[in-house]
Amino acid sequence: MQSLVGLITSADPAVRNQSLDVCCRGASVQELIAATRELDTFRRGAENLYERVRALFFLAAIHRFHLPAVLEKSGTSPELSALIPFRGYEQLLQRRFEEAIDTFLALQESSGPSDGISSALASAYHRLGFQTLADQVRRSVRTVRGNQWMFRMGHPGDQPLRIRPDLLQRSPEGAFPILREQTPVRMDLTHSAWSDIFFLGMDYPEGARVLNVSVDLGVHGRDASPRPPVSAWLRVLDEPVLRLTSVDLGATADVTALSDVFDFARDYLGLLKAAVIASGIVPPGIEGSGHSLAELLAQIVGPGRGLELVSSVNDIPKGSRLAVSTNLLGSLISVCMRATGQASSLTGELQESERRLVLARALLGEWLGGSGGGWQDSGGVWPGIKLITGVAAESGDPESGVSRGRLMPTHSVYDRDAIPESARKALQDSLVVVHGGMAQNVGPILEMVTEKYLLRSEREWHGRQDALTVLDEVISALRRGDIKALAAATTRNFREPIQTIIPWASTRYTELLIERAAAAFGQDFWGFWMLGGMSGGGMGFIFAPHRKQEAQAKLQEIMSATKRELQHALPFAMEPVVFDYAINEHGTFADLLAGDAALMPHGYYALTVPRLVRQDRQDLPLARRAELDTVGAAARTRPELRGLVQNLFDALLPRGRAETRAGASLPELLEQNGFDRAQHEQIRRDLTGGRIGLAQNRLRADSVIEDVRDSDVACVEGAAAVAARAAGERALRQGEVAVVTLAAGAGSRWTQGAGVCKALHPFAKLAGRHRTFIETHLAKSRRTSRAYGAVLPHVFTTSYATQNPTELFLKAVDGYGYEGPLLLSPGRSVGLRMVPTERDLRFAWEEMPQQRLDEQQQKVRESLRAALIGWARSAGEASDYTDNLPLQCMHPVGHWYEVPNLFRNGVLARLLRERPSLRWLLLHNIDTLGADVDPALLGHHIQSGAALTFEVITRRLEDRGGGLARVNQQPRLVEGLAMPREEDEFRLRYYNSMTTWIDLDRLLDVFGLSRQIILAAGEGDSAGSRAASETITAAIRTLAARMPTYVTLKEVKKRWGHGQEDIFPVTQFEKLWGDMTAVSGIDCRFVRVPRPRGQQLKDQAQLDGWLRDGSAAFVENLCEWK
């Protein structure tokens, strides 16, 4: 194996750009360990940032992908492996990555390598790599000239900025003029293969190139014509406050304390606050100084005066991939800089040096706000069409010697000679820009891109080179005005390099839209163009010009219909829209509004006037009174203010909710889904009385939690496996088996509480197509059925949230052509979410070990949490959570109920009637993709005579939330919620996969039921049937009473405005299947299975690793598609 350090340090690109995967191929455990030792020693001494970072990512990849694979092959026994030390885990949470690495390495040295330790090391190296990169960007942002002074300034008396005198010139009536900045947003014509990630630009400046266009926007059919979509407004006030208003988010606040300016997540004004700070009005250096904001403002504007800053977005929805928020930040910073003399002209366009400063400040602002856009995102500040490129760092640059490239790119604006007017027009005549309605977090994708780049993963690296040639093709086509060629290039870009680098950039939704646009327009559909981080939100479709108008209407229709089909499968934040747009040739542009024209944007007055009219006119400052007079007059004469009076009435006298809601109400839905009000009230009493809660979920503190003994866990291998397999195959052939997939959950973690149906999510491309979880599970059952000549019945359990969508979806896809019985088992229980108690929120956030975030993000999180605690108090602790869509207020009550539901809802009765030979059930979670009816495991279960056999896997760092333990000498599964002490979990080698083999008769026996009762209950509406049903209900209630009830906090999304989303923590309760192992009298056994079989896909960020580590291929091998 060649030296990996050589790969990092070589000056020869042919060596430096070799793929890590290729170098590690075929290496032994010893060779890989030796390579990691060399890399670790190297990275500790490396001065150059990127050499250090690349070594860190090499180490992470070897521990994540290469070592586990060879360890698995070498047959390392988990019985002999060391456990992941809790101390190292705690160090990780505290972001003490170096210490964590040392802890894990020490253990690896003493106990030898293992899958678990490698998972911990992979995580630690990975996070240290990203931390190092983030630190460097932060340092670079601070060292940009023009930003440095703001970090030195710590006293109001030192504030060197002064307001431009023009802004102090009152009108005769006493009103101050308003400075208005209007800014276009940016489109990226080349997508750029994410080369606009800062880390890439700073390491590979020659590969960081994007073609970026500033555009005005309007919503097609709503707005008369496109206009700059974002604007920022500033004026002087007669009060010593900082008045911030976000018209689009409907928020306004008078900030009077300096500390509140730095409190970003307290309200919706974080972006405005970031702009005030990044523009130097409240410089970052003054944070925490305890000085007075009024004093600081007096220095800038004069004693007793303040500033008002207003932001407005022309109702452009979030997630448009047009960098709306970065350009709004740029607009706000620009208006603040102009007002304080930091730009030479108060109005008009900015000079190039000033635009660069706005960019530098926007970077600072984004970092302050805990977010981070791409380095091309402020493109709207520049005019027209420009090529943005990375720049190599030279001596004298702050980056010199640290990274190959500068932090800030350079912008070359194309003039009319380079791209003639005709070409610009041709582009606008063909391109339809839309927002598909999906809103997704692109953060994980950007991390994947960075990692793949640093590893020079073979295919991805070639994809990146290919994307650069696409960029040249796009530029050349645009210069020629050949939009058809341009469309071919952007389509190829999407199909080839982009998806080679990140397969997740496309979605089933996008594929359908392209397919349908092509079907509707044939040859006149010229191509697709992906905007930004991933598709589904902002996208471009290119048509022959004579059909563009028609295409705008048709696309709206296609998108709306496709959204309706997929709305339960994918997270949509809003109705899709088609935009009108025009290239903006000015970039950001300011004008001064004085006299009668000095009015804030439409929408501002609806927010602020209701409060003013409640005040005594005499109490209003002079400028406010003058303004109200002007507004009153303007409302009568200016057409754009026509709706103002109506808006004011709406704001003063909000309409009742009933008027605005459609569909079934929450009480109706609760009623329909068997909501138990008495139980709910009991839970509330217990919650407020402190009898239940997060802290009370735990087992008694004196419980003895130990790891299981080797004899507690079986392993089906060798000769035993052969015999077991024969038994399993026999049962399969005799039709004794059915599969039950738990699909009642809404996939809270999968889409951060978006309330979609996870089972229907087309999560990945397998065998060339996007597949849903359901399709994948059915494909496995199909393969088993065919192999053993007996069709497997497959049951998907559902809940109030998933039943209808799943039913409709399966109908639409014709059950994926599944040959065997395909049944849905509807839920029979539902809960109503509650506002959490402060006690539980504090327990979760303050007492449970928490992943500490990067410095600024941590600050933002703490501020958000303080706000959420405030929300819980004001909304009423443990009160019903009803301020959302009804379905988002309800919750499934845990997967324990999904099994007895089979008894109650007639599904089991039907199965038993149709196949009396049924004896064994395989129960698994929707996200356990590797679970199938493996004959050896089935045979093992049959031979063991157990009632339930639970499959477990060896633990990796990410496997959190309980495991297999001996509790007071009794082997059982323990939920993470129930662990008395966090560290107990780290003493357990095995993690619960939740996959369970069930002996049906013995399970019924546990409930005190029998086949006869189940069958009797399913026989119509006779007295016997009713009696049997009652027996079943009573049996379930009796066992349920013996199961622990957990109180949990879940995240739920509330959507509002134009694609805006807020996430709230809510309280719900649940009973969990794994606790069956704790019920006395049930014969439970445990069997160890390979990780690809037992692992669960909980989070979309796992997908890439899942694909790369061979798990996807493992699953594909289990499937036979229709």
């Binding site: 023009g146 060197p160 900025l161 930091q342």
Partner: protein, 280 residues
């Protein structure tokens, strides 16, 4: 370069009475601020002084100049069009000669035996170029001064070759354009209110006056042009400037003068007494 002429400006809206204030000089003699400034110029070898005043202020200034009045040529600034305009008004007085330019509301206390003006004039003579006196100033004071950017002149301590001049820059501009190697972080070289200028400056100012009939004529703009046209230097002098127009400026200037002169002990004793008598 032989500097025999000086121009002192005292026509500014807020400057007109300041030079008339009385102070006790370093030698313990009571005189007006104007007299102290004139003596500073004379000590540098200047023989003729042009005093730019607001129309009608001549009698008061003549009186305030006392025995030096005979050396003065009064020049009236007819319209308040900016500091650059005030200087340009003296073009007829300076003619084709280099001149020392001072402001009527600043006093200087040298920390060596040579006065500040003398240090500057000697530097300009030896370098044969325009030289502005500058002082390293914290960025929080940038809204009050013109400032320069440039690099150190090899072999001469505290002397800089000016490449950029900005009037009252923001710290943002200053950080990008006025970085001078060797200064403390957050400090810039700001004007000291004292320059030795070549006749080119008058030429540049005249064209500025012609192009801006409504005013806003800044000396800094002319100096910025000068830096591009000919060798233009800045010198850090051994001494301090006191702006008597600032809040407590007169008091501070008086204390500085007294503490560096014959009455040091008496003034110190007075201060100590004041401090001791101050109630907690």
């Amino acid at each position: 370069m032989n500097i025999k002429k000086a121009v002192i400006t005292a026509a500014g809206k807020n400057q007109r009475t300041l030079p008339l204030q009385s102070l006790v000089d370093r030698d313990g003699v009571s005189k007006t601020a104007l007299a102290i400034i004139i003596e500073e110029a004379l000590s540098a070898g200047v023989e003729e002084i042009g005093l730019v005043v607001h129309p009608g202020d001549q009698p008061a200034f003549a009186a305030a100049a006392g025995s030096h009045a005979s050396r003065l040529t009064f020049i009236e600034q007819t319209q308040p069009l900016g500091y650059g305009h005030a200087v340009a008004s003296a073009r007829g007085f300076t003619g084709a000669n280099p001149f020392l330019l001072m402001v009527g509301d600043h006093l200087y206390v040298s920390s060596e035996s040579k006065g500040c003006a003398r240090q500057l004039v000697e530097m300009a003579s030896s370098q044969d170029a325009s030289v502005s006196a500058v002082q390293a100033t914290h960025e929080s004071k940038l809204p009050y001064y013109g400032a320069i950017g440039g690099k150190r002149v090899a072999g001469v301590s505290e002397l800089y070759e000016v490449s950029e001049v900005l009037e009252k820059p923001t710290p943002t501009e200053a950080e990008q354009r006025l970085i001078v190697p060797g200064l403390r972080a957050g400090h810039y070289l700001c004007f000291f209110g004292m320059h030795v200028l070549t006749p080119s400056v008058m030429e540049i100012l005249s064209s500025l006056v012609a192009s801006k009939p409504n005013g806003g004529i800044h000396l800094s703009a002319a100096l910025s042009t000068l830096a591009r046209r000919e060798r233009y230097l800045a010198a850090e002098l051994k001494g301090r400037r006191y702006d008597i127009g600032a809040r407590f400026g007169l008091l501070t200037a008086q204390l500085a003068l007294s503490l560096s002169g014959a009455d040091r002990d008496e003034v110190l004793a007075g201060l100590v007494e004041l401090l001791a008598a101050r109630k907690p």
